[in-house]
Symmetry: C2
Amino acid sequence: MRPQYDRNALPKATDAIPCDTCPVREISVCSILPREQRKQIALKSHNRHAAKGDVLAVEGDRAAQIASVTSGVIKMTKTLSDGRQQIVGLAFPSDMVGRPFATDNTVRVEAATDTTLCSFDRAHFEQLLKEHPAFEGLLLRMKLDELDAAKEWMLLLGRKSAKERVASFLSMLADRQLAPDGTRLPRTSPITFELPLSRAEIADYLGLTLETVSRQVSKLRELGVIVIEDGRTVSVPDRQKLAALSGN
Amino acid sequence: MRPQYDRNALPKATDAIPCDTCPVREISVCSILPREQRKQIALKSHNRHAAKGDVLAVEGDRAAQIASVTSGVIKMTKTLSDGRQQIVGLAFPSDMVGRPFATDNTVRVEAATDTTLCSFDRAHFEQLLKEHPAFEGLLLRMKLDELDAAKEWMLLLGRKSAKERVASFLSMLADRQLAPDGTRLPRTSPITFELPLSRAEIADYLGLTLETVSRQVSKLRELGVIVIEDGRTVSVPDRQKLAALSGN
DNA sequence: CGAGTGCTTGAGGGAAGTCAAGATTGGTGG
DNA sequence: CCACCAATCTTGACTTCCCTCAAGCACTCG
């Protein structure tokens, strides 16, 4: 069965990178598995690269691949028939994308930035889950966390003001930044990072319009809560202050 | 450690009902397990009843129980510090409530109607998951479905108009109704059902105000898409027509 | 029968959306 | 290296949909 999207947009296979040098080896699904299991799992996976904008799957498409993000950011979107769009999830390094145990995708999967992935055929992946209950257990835990995050986002989409949404988004990004060695950073220190999304994409994530996002970013800048180094680079001198504007 | 909520509000233990007469035996988690495993699981569970309004857990509380809903509807809510509320999930018969593998609840759990539950201590439940990979696998599948539903809801909260939200909600309720024998109903036939939520609760679920919900329900009634038998009882003569107003 | 609760309807206001210029940025090729 | 073009972002003016506030209605229960 042919996929409906452009084959050229598919991520290209690259030379296999052993898990030992994987950028997220400390925090990915694989991290807590014993070396032996890890090796078996590595055999079934292959490293892929996706350029910004590459579409990995579309709504209604056959769900063929499951992957762990090793660098970059993947966005998952849903679209109404008249074109209104909503980003329903972002996958950062160590997160999984793809839908095990379903024949069809319910979301469009697209690279928000240049991305590297550790990818599995869905059938192989499901086989691994069956053979390694520890792996399945870990995936369950990850999905439970994802569900908690989704609920948090439902609160944002249902009840927060535009300013609170933008502040929450920036706060979330700050919290998800990784140190150069792939480990997580403390939750308090000042931080500078690249926005992985355009204003339009941020709007689609926050349930706003791009103009509203732009206005609210400007207001946060005027308040001194954030510093815009250039359009896409943001500094947060005091994360408490930003968090205070996030509602909650 | 004492729970922070009123002990009197806790569901009361009732006489054990064997799985063989469980109202959701055909569709619950347990349904596809072999009889032997089912028996072991039943040993660890107990039937409980919760009256409408009973609070089973609050945000920040220790996560102590996991339960399968056997009748009624449970709502899960999140609240901002200034009182704004959002319902982030409903659990219908055969759905699970509770958060395995986390010490604290991130949501408030409350009976939206009179409810019966098949309940487990969290520690026992986690033990069962460990001992029965098939059970764990099934829970994973359920949580993946729940995640899909959450994403669908994010689209609603982020992008749909008030009228589309109300139509989507009624459409979803119609789809989730069970026949008297506990099996699922066809997706097309005309249907009459009770709203499990008040106007205020519907508003909290849809990210609207209760006045807006009331107005939109009135408009759908004027359009002839729904018939209000009495304040809480709704008939949908043509479900296609209702679905057409849901956006998507 | 009156009080309480939940629901409906109306009038007015405000937060975010829409439409429309400009300003910046970044990529490309001369 | 710089100039140009397209894409992205910002800002402004106006509109709209939903929220807020308020009043009245329909049931239920003491």
